[in-house]
């Protein structure tokens, strides 16, 4: 068993009543990429934090290179040759790359000598692993992809042989993610062992050699990636069969409910983010907007929802004009039948410190149903929240729990329940399943299709191309603020990909 880089034996960890890791056994072979997959809250991050010395296991053993080691703090992990790339980067933003790499691994009390040595070592690492980055650049001036590279360099600088990456693609564009995977491939070729934690099945299939699945604190299976399938992994993660592609019938589009004409949006710097965009959404259809993040979809959504000021253009809601360039009034829009599920539920959709029941009425709190004179009718609000909890299977089913204590998927269901249960005519949804686990994704997709079948007009924005293709009746592709093409959901991924990259669209626009 010489080729085992790291082995976990019977790792157990509880936080009060929560049993986060139950008797976990895991073997990771040297020089491989080992995926760990599981839904949010399955215990992946806890397990890795134990491995990196953030937490102590209640019981169990960690064996590195055949030797049992005790990892009491990150220092011990570093000396055992374990490096970690955190989901939220552990970088000092106003330090240079070099300073960040050195931090904690400086040779001497006085920096000067160490700096020269670190610079040299960094150069060597850059060359050896093709990880180029300017050592004197400030972190805050680097794009996220490069910041992540600095995190990897930090681990390599500390001579890590085992690299743990926690949800590394969450913040990356698809192109950056591809680049990261190439880097990981190189590191593997150089003999490094990589543990990749993710909840994205595609990444597991694309890059790992072996994959272990966690569910509710338990390690339920380990498979060789080549011998398993997305369907099997999804089933293992959720514990039941999951429909990865929702069933949906033919839509029956009716009247135009939302009409956008010549909408142009500039951001605070005066840069055009949405450039003369026009489209209609009819009752009983889902129009999906595909595109690489940052091509104007967010701004488009916000302008229609009345959150962001448009420079010019018109929007008709149920045939009546909406003032998008002058006085905007999201509350009035809601009253006129427009519901909005914002892209960023943490900052726009919810107040995380509020109770579930309070978030369930946020924005509709002036509705007489929830009022008792000038006061809020707490009983009515809680009763309403409990109904939504039951209907949307929000867990834990506790209307008085602080919203921050719900998982990502359940938080998203709180927002969806709030917006959908009002019976809007037009529903605009941004990133419906971002940071949401597989089980909840299925539920959310079903609900969106139900809305369509009830005759609502749905405008869907997502950076997940699979999601757009699975749900939409028509797909509009945005690139650099413009709609560069319209396709049916049968269009191939390659065809849409070219449009999203701005290659095909220009030709089409020119014709």
């Amino acid at each position: 068993m010489d080729n085992i880089a790291i082995e976990l034996r019977g790792i157990d960890k509880s936080f009060g009543p929560v049993h986060a890791n139950k008797n976990i056994n895991l073997k990771v072979r040297k020089g491989t990429i080992h995926g760990i997959i599981g839904e949010n809250g399955a215990g992946k991050s806890t397990l890795m934090s134990i491995l990196y010395g953030f937490y102590q296991a209640d019981s169990g053993e960690i064996v590195v290179d055949g030797r049992p080691v005790s990892i009491r703090d990150p220092n011990a992990a570093i000396s055992a040759g374990i490096g970690m790339v955190h989901q939220h980067f552990m970088l000092v933003e106003n330090f240079t790359v070099l300073e960040n790499v050195m931090l904690g691994a400086e040779d001497s009390q006085i920096l000067n000598k160490g700096i020269a040595k670190a610079r040299q070592e960094l150069k060597r690492l850059e060359k050896e692993y093709a990880l180029e980055v300017n050592p004197d650049a400030l972190i805050e001036e680097l794009p996220v992809g490069l910041q992540q590279r600095v995190e990897i360099l930090k681990a390599l600088y500390r001579k890590a042989d085992i690299l743990i990456l926690d949800e590394p693609t969450g913040v990356l564009t698809p192109a950056e993610a591809d680049h990261l995977f190439r880097i990981l491939g190189q590191l593997k070729a150089q003999g490094k062992t990589i543990i990749l934690i993710t909840h994205k099945l595609r990444e597991i299939m694309a890059i790992t050699d072996e994959v272990s699945v966690m569910r509710r604190g338990e390690m339920v299976a380990t498979r060789t990636t080549g011998e398993t399938s997305v369907e099997e992994l999804a089933e293992l993660m959720v514990g039941r069969r999951v429909l990865l592609r929702v069933q949906k019938g033919e839509g029956t589009p009716g009247d135009v409910k939302l009409s956008v004409q010549g909408l142009t949006v500039k951001d605070s710097r005066g840069v055009t983010m949405v450039d003369d965009v026009s489209f209609d959404v009819r009752a009983g259809e889902i129009v999906g907007i595909a595109g690489v993040a940052g091509n104007g979809q967010s701004e488009l959504l916000e302008a229609i929802a009345g959150i962001r000021k448009a420079t010019s253009g018109t929007v008709l809601l149920n045939g009546e004009s909406v003032d998008v360039t002058g006085h905007r009034d999201p509350a009035a829009l809601r009253a006129r039948g427009l519901a909005h599920v914002p892209e960023d539920r943490h900052h726009v959709g919810l107040v995380l410190k509020f109770e579930e029941s309070e978030n369930a009425i946020l924005g509709y709190h002036n509705d007489p149903r929830y009022l008792n004179g000038v006061f809020l009718d707490i009983d009515a609000i809680r009763k309403d929240a409990e109904e939504k909890i039951a209907k949307y299977d929000i867990r834990p089913p506790n209307a008085r729990l602080k919203t921050a204590n719900f998982s990502g998927g359940n938080q998203q269901k709180i927002v969806l329940a709030r917006e959908m249960e009002r019976g809007p005519d037009v529903l605009i949804i941004g990133q419906p399943t971002r940071g949401v686990d597989v089980g909840a994704i299925e539920f959310i997709h079903k609900r969106i299709i139900e809305m369509r079948d009830q005759g609502k007009a749905v405008l869907l924005v997502s950076v997940e191309l699979d999601e757009i293709r699975a749900l939409s009746d028509r797909i509009l592709v945005m690139f650099a603020g413009r709609v560069v093409g319209e396709r049916s959901p049968d269009a191939t991924e390659g065809e849409l990909g070219l449009l999203m990259a701005g290659v095909e669209g220009r030709k089409e626009a020119a014709e």
Binding site: S45, T46, S49, Y52, F54, D73, P74, N75, A77, I78, M84, H86, H88, M90, L91, V92, E93, N94, F95, E99, N100, M102, L103, G104, A105, E106, S108, Q109, I110, L111, N112, G114, K154
Partner: protein
Amino acid sequence: MDFFHVLVVLLESTIRVSVPLVFAALAGLFTERAGVFDIGLEGKMLGAAFAAGAAAAVAQSVWIGLIAAILISVLLSLVHGYASITQRGNQIVSGVAINFIVAGSTVILGEAWFRQGGRTPALAEGARFQIVNFPGADAAREVPILGPIYADLLSGHFLLTYLAFAMVPISWWILYRTRFGLRLRAVGENPGAVDTAGISVIWLRYRAVICCGILCGFAGAYLSLAMTAGFVKGMTAGKGYIALAALIFAKWRPKNVMLACLLFGFLDALAIRLQGTPLPLVGQVPVQLMQALPYILTVILLAGFIGKAIPPKAGGVPYVKER
């Protein structure tokens, strides 16, 4: 020549009143750069001044006075550290509490021990700092221009004055050229980065807080052992807050800290100088207005004349290891 003479006198008193500001602002620089906000500079300085005055009076030794000042100030810093680092309490509340406790207890203890209305006994020559005269200073004074600059501006200050200004490059060197400084600045920006690099956030922040205590100790000792001969109740008179303002004005950088303190010191000196002197065009200005000038300037400067002052990102936030 008369104007030149006035200017030299003005600058000399600028230096004199700037010293406690420089010490206190540098003290704040160390903790705030490490992510612990400290509104208790005032209290630490006052406690140190009292300890210095009392110990020097009892022991008849300036050095024992200085050591007592540093000890008390470090002790108060550790209280602040315990509340805000270990117990993760609110740093503003802890700092304000220290200010109040010191303001009251110095008077009570002073009265109980010395029965002079909260003062400590006036110190004899050996129990306080003496002026350091450079060689040939008196003779050089006759030389035009350079003479008074040498004799009155460079020479003729207390040892602590020279130390205060020497602390500016020393602090810079510590913060930017040593491992301790790199880590200290890092922990004020992103303690997570420090923790994951295998360095103790808690111990690092405690060391920063101790540095702050030492420097505040010097500031307090200067007030009661050098500037005056003994402790007078409330003798810091808001200098701790002015130092805090200077720190923000200086955007948490050592050289700027010195310049900001000199500017506030200059205004203070000017206010003293102009008391009772009619100004051209305006005429007689009330004393109170002149005294308020440094504070008015603080408000104006902080309100937006300095551009955006970005504090250390993790400032004021206790570090909680969590996932």
